[in-house]
């Protein structure tokens, strides 16, 4: 893996140089560490799920994202428009997978470290204003998350321009920003089957019901406070 990224970086740097884009090499991505143990979210999410989700699924998105970026760089260097365009699907999917999962890990925290504690401060007020109550927001996200057809995500987002909170869903690995350029993700819940199947099987609503016990509202509140000082 390490060797692979090394080679990748070198190739990309050389490629960029050869058409005179300067010394800038393409950055490759690596799997971010979790701030808690795989088993620390139990019983809401099993350690087995967390480990596969992080080490296998997230890693695969990163590997394929790096691969696609490398191919993209080569295509751009060669002026190969058709390959450049063809790669967009893989970039959106794998890059989106990386972006989304990176947020998701931060959105979770063990129950004994504040997981599930309702949001306080300005985000708490904003939730009451926009959705009526914290419970109403949870209900809305559960309903929309359960209704996602196939694989996808349900989000609590901030519409930056109008300082408005929104609940959105995205398909597959589309990041929230695909639903609006000024949307900032505060909380994303993965409703792909790989996020819950080993534990909850076909009953996605039970997974959605339980995940709130390990949601890190402190993180969401910080993002919100930064965007809406």
């Amino acid at each position: 893996m390490a060797l692979r990224s090394l080679i990748t970086t070198r190739t990309l740097t050389r490629g960029a140089k050869s058409v005179g884009f300067g010394l800038r090499g393409l950055q490759t991505f690596t799997l971010p560490d979790l701030e808690y143990d795989y088993g620390a979210l139990e019983p809401a999410i099993s350690g087995e799920i967390m480990q596969l989700h992080h080490q296998k699924h997230h890693q695969t998105y990163i590997t394929n994202y790096n691969k696609a970026l490398e191919q993209l760089d080569q295509a751009i260097t060669k002026g190969d428009a058709s390959t450049t365009v063809k790669l967009q699907g893989a970039i959106k999917f794998n890059g989106g997978g990386h972006v989304n999962h990176s947020i998701f890990w931060k959105n979770l925290t063990p129950a004994n470290e504040g997981g599930g504690d309702p949001p306080h401060g300005s985000l708490g007020w904003a939730i009451d204003t926009h959705f009526g109550s914290f419970e109403a927001l949870i209900q809305k996200m559960n309903a929309e998350g359960a209704a996602v057809q196939g694989s996808g995500w349900v989000w609590l987002g901030l519409e930056k321009e109008f300082k408005k909170l929104v609940v959105e869903t995205t398909a597959n690995q589309d990041p929230l920003v695909t639903k609006g350029a000024s949307l900032v993700p505060l909380l994303g819940i993965d409703v792909w089957e790989h996020a819950y199947y080993l534990q909850y099987k076909n009953v996605r609503p039970d997974y959605l019901k339980n995940i709130w016990k390990v949601v890190n509202w402190k993180y969401a509140g910080e993002v919100y406070a930064k965007e809406c000082p």
């Binding site: 596969l52 999917f93 196939g150 694989s151 089957e193 099987k201 076909n202």
Partner: protein, 308 residues
Amino acid sequence: MVAAAANPVWLTFPCQGLGGRTPGLQFHRGNKQMVQTRCTRKARPATISAKFELKPPPYPLNALEPHMSRDTLEYHWGKHHRTYVENLNNQIAGTELDGMSLEDVILVSYNRGDILPPFNNAAQAWNHGFFWESMKPGGGGKPSGDLLELIERDFGSFEIFLSEFKSAASTQFGSGWAWLCYKANRLDVENAVNPLPSDDDKKLVVVKSPNAVNPLVWDYSPLLTIDVWEHAYYLDFQNRRPDYISVFMDKLVSWEAVSYRLEIAKARATEREVEEERRKREEEEEQESDGEGVQMYLDSDADESETE
């Protein structure tokens, strides 16, 4: 259940209930006369009310072990497939879709891509039934006969087909299906007709589809499918979708089922050609007899009012 080839909706759609009660269901846009001709040909009562049944796989739930576990089938068939069928029945009870064949519910609710709520359940109910029957205990290996000949003709070799099919299944982003289909159709662009129909139009193709979508909606005849929703393989293979796909092709595919479906698809294609020919002849005859009438009216409005 295995009625693989897509009937265009208008061949079997009952005339009753089409009068624009549900705007979302209006899919006819040809001239009115044609619609009437089509409807009267195969009209049937619209009052049948029947529930779709959850048909079990044609083998015991543990019969595909160790390649596909009993556990997987108990959830996949016993929970997922069952839920699609039950939700569909609840969704369409008492609506215009009630009493139609499952294939027709799929085509009507697909609504040319602007899908109506029952589509996902209807298509998933159909897809899963088709998937169970695409497998058998002791399956896999290589097809033979006509099927193998067509595969070799259209893909170059069985090995190339295998790699194309596996690649389609493993690169379907997110949930979905990969298919081997018989593409019998000529051009399907609005009311355009292929000016030079030939046997080259009929060939095997590998396609993939997201979520519930299946090739019936493109008027292809599905011959083989693999479910690449994570629930299809997660208990047995976790994240290793490529392994699941390989095991499916090596150990589970029922090439007998695929061959049988190919025969049906070819027969259906021939039948449709004959039907098409007949329709064209009829239209020409009608036009000829209309032609005399048109000469009598100089005002084109008069023509229209006559056909109302």
